[in-house]
Symmetry: C2
Subunit: 249 residues, 2 copies
């Protein structure tokens, strides 16, 4: 028996015993992270990719299928395979679940109330995998739907990646698309923890509601393509006329 067969030191970490298509999948993701292909760009065809990676076309297809299910890639019938963008109806609404009762989903406007640099507190540092004392950029916004304030948001971003944001004159309403185009950071997964809470005086002032009204508090961690936490967001949402919608299968 060859002892080396079980010597993990000889196999590349993370790649050992992975099916070939999974390795291709990771490689393609890595190339997107490195901006070899940018959001919205078309990938080479399966034949070219197969030859570039030295695998069969079937393996490339399996990897691309998996990346399409994960929404990292987007297929356009008869045209080709593209790096997904946070634009268009699907991209913009995918992570926006608060909907006015009895209405179709609509993106609220955002009013930026303040932007500052702070030292991350314990909770924020843990959520963003930062060291204690690391700096974060803090955006405070309120969202507006049909001329009414619906959400008070506090957004924390790692300073090391987002410092250029402090020089922006106009921070756009659609932040995820902005992160993607200006910082090459794509929100790939989100994890929302939802609780009910009572409006504080600060909520009441920001949202123009009464103290003690019930609110939804949505605490979100957004992860990038390579599974790093890139945004921590606390949204205090009115739910008298709005609901958070989840559809699962």
């Amino acid at each position: 028996m060859n002892e080396n067969r079980f010597d993990n030191k000889l196999s590349r970490p993370g790649l050992a015993f992975q099916p070939l298509y999974k390795q291709v999948e990771e490689q393609v993701t890595q190339l997107i992270v490195e901006q070899r292909w940018k959001p919205g760009e078309m990938l080479p065809n399966e034949f070219q990719l197969a030859s570039e990676f030295g695998v069969s076309q079937g393996t490339v297809r399996k990897a691309l299928n998996s990346l399409t299910s994960a929404k990292i890639l987007t297929r356009r019938q008869g045209i080709g395979t593209f790096v997904s963008e946070h634009t268009g109806h699907h991209g913009l609404y995918r992570f926006y679940p608060l909907i006015a009762d009895g209405k179709s989903p609509e993106l609220p406007k955002a009013e930026l109330l303040s932007i500052s640099t702070q030292t991350a507190n314990k909770k924020v540092a843990a959520a963003l995998s930062l060291n204690p004392k690391d700096k974060v950029i803090v955006l405070i916004r309120r969202r507006i739907l049909d001329n009414e304030f619906c959400i008070a948001e506090t957004i924390y971003l790692p300073h090391k990646w987002f410092k250029a944001l402090l020089d922006e004159k106009d921070v756009p309403h659609t932040l995820y698309h902005f992160y993607q185009t200006n910082f090459n950071l794509t929100v790939h997964t989100i994890r929302d923890s939802i609780k009910a809470d009572l409006a504080t005086q600060s909520d009441a002032d920001t949202l123009n509601i009464k103290l003690g009204e019930p609110l939804l508090e949505v605490t979100r961690i957004a992860q990038s393509l390579n599974d790093k936490p890139m945004e921590y967001r606390i949204s205090r949402c009115r739910s008298d006329k709005y609901h958070y919608l989840v559809e699962l299968n």
Copy 2:
């Protein structure tokens, strides 16, 4: 130009212009609905299915991939493709999003407080696509986690499908598995609308909390494999120690 080409009367409704694999997908779903294959049962292999449906193996594979993504089928590596069941870790937790803060997901026990037959009110009839005056079975339960009451549930089921439930001596805690095994009705998709509300006196009595505490109200419509609404459920959830978790990509 052949006028008949655009005469929709000549094409089968719903099948016209659908890719072949989509038609195979619908056919397989229909056979599961008709119990040709039951939950947990293994399907014939791709070769046999291709020959049965008179299509290529590639088309069968595409249909099975799509049904696996939709969680109607489950693949077991090296064994085969099975009709998904509401059992096992994944099946049981898939639609159960309330989690104790800082803990792993755990299924709460259920205490059945009452079971009755009622005439559907407007809201319930609309949610379940029933006629006004149609009967529904109403279950009232409370859920228990770590010896504490966490959720007060009111569950509405169409009487026409679930009347045998009235004769059950022991209604099990895991209803979705019970619907599947005893009524051949599989919950395939759920749609949760989440709001924040204040505990009423009835919530306070049921959950042993104070009047006016903030609660999550989760209003759920569950649909069967053939997209018919089969259960309407209102869950009033404590959120002081629990949160509703959503993960999206």
